[in-house]
């Protein structure tokens, strides 16, 4: 089911339209999407930037696994999961997920499943940079 799945990890800017165009086709009635964006604060501290790093070959495998499971679990047509690495500033986009389906409920469910699972299983890490230092997010398990 390769042509139903688009997976990408890139240091380029992610593009919502690219992800939308990949999943859109004539048999779909709706496209649900999630775009993660870098917030300007964490726990009331001002964030300057986030730096994302990945164990790239394994992250790609895990993202594919999420997409394949989503196609099995939900009645969806196609799914794209793109993730950025490197330096991201406030408002920049670390992740985009788009899902198309004939009926919208499945697209919403699959999109939420994909982002929820990505945050648990995909080996990608972010470090928050503040004026007075930097910290790995989720560094205290």
């Amino acid at each position: 089911m390769k042509e139903k799945i688009s997976i990408q990890i890139t240091s380029d800017k992610l593009n919502l339209q690219t992800c939308y165009d990949f999943v859109q086709d004539d048999s779909c009635g709706g496209i649900a999407s999630f775009v993660g964006t870098v917030r300007n604060t964490t726990k009331n501290k001002t964030v300057n930037k986030l730096v994302f790093s990945a164990y790239e070959p394994m992250a790609i495998k895990e993202m594919k696994r999420i997409a394949e499971k989503a196609l099995l679990k939900f009645e969806i047509n196609k799914i794209a999961i793109h993730h950025a690495v490197g330096n991201l500033l406030i408002g920049d986009v670390p992740v985009i997920i788009t899902v198309s389906s004939a009926h919208r409920g499945a697209a919403f469910d699959a999109c939420q499943y994909a982002i929820d699972t990505l945050k648990v299983t995909v080996p990608i890490w972010k470090k928050e940079h503040f004026d007075d230092g930097e910290v790995w997010v989720n560094s205290h398990p």
Partner: protein
């Protein structure tokens, strides 16, 4: 046997290396390797709680390592 060990995220900061190679006797499991790393890097007290991948797949820590395995130390992930 030779095992390649990859460090990511906060593990990389603690160890101050992207990767190292270790020579182990045969029939050692992941737990054995993790304990060895904890001794080698005393600052690395949290390593026992981290996940481990062997050859790009998450594994349980009682899995037996083979020659040329690539072991990745995976601190809590924070993608998205």
């Amino acid at each position: 046997m030779i095992i390649e060990i990859l460090f990511f995220g906060m593990a990389r900061d603690i160890v101050n290396e992207n990767k190292i190679n270790l020579e182990l006797n045969e029939n050692k499991d992941v737990n054995f390797l993790v304990n060895l790393l904890e001794e080698k890097y005393p600052k690395f007290s949290s390593i026992n709680s981290f996940s481990v991948a062997v050859n790009e797949e998450y594994v349980k820590k009682d899995i037996i390592l083979k020659n040329n395995d690539t072991v990745a130390i995976i601190p809590p992930v924070s993608g998205g």
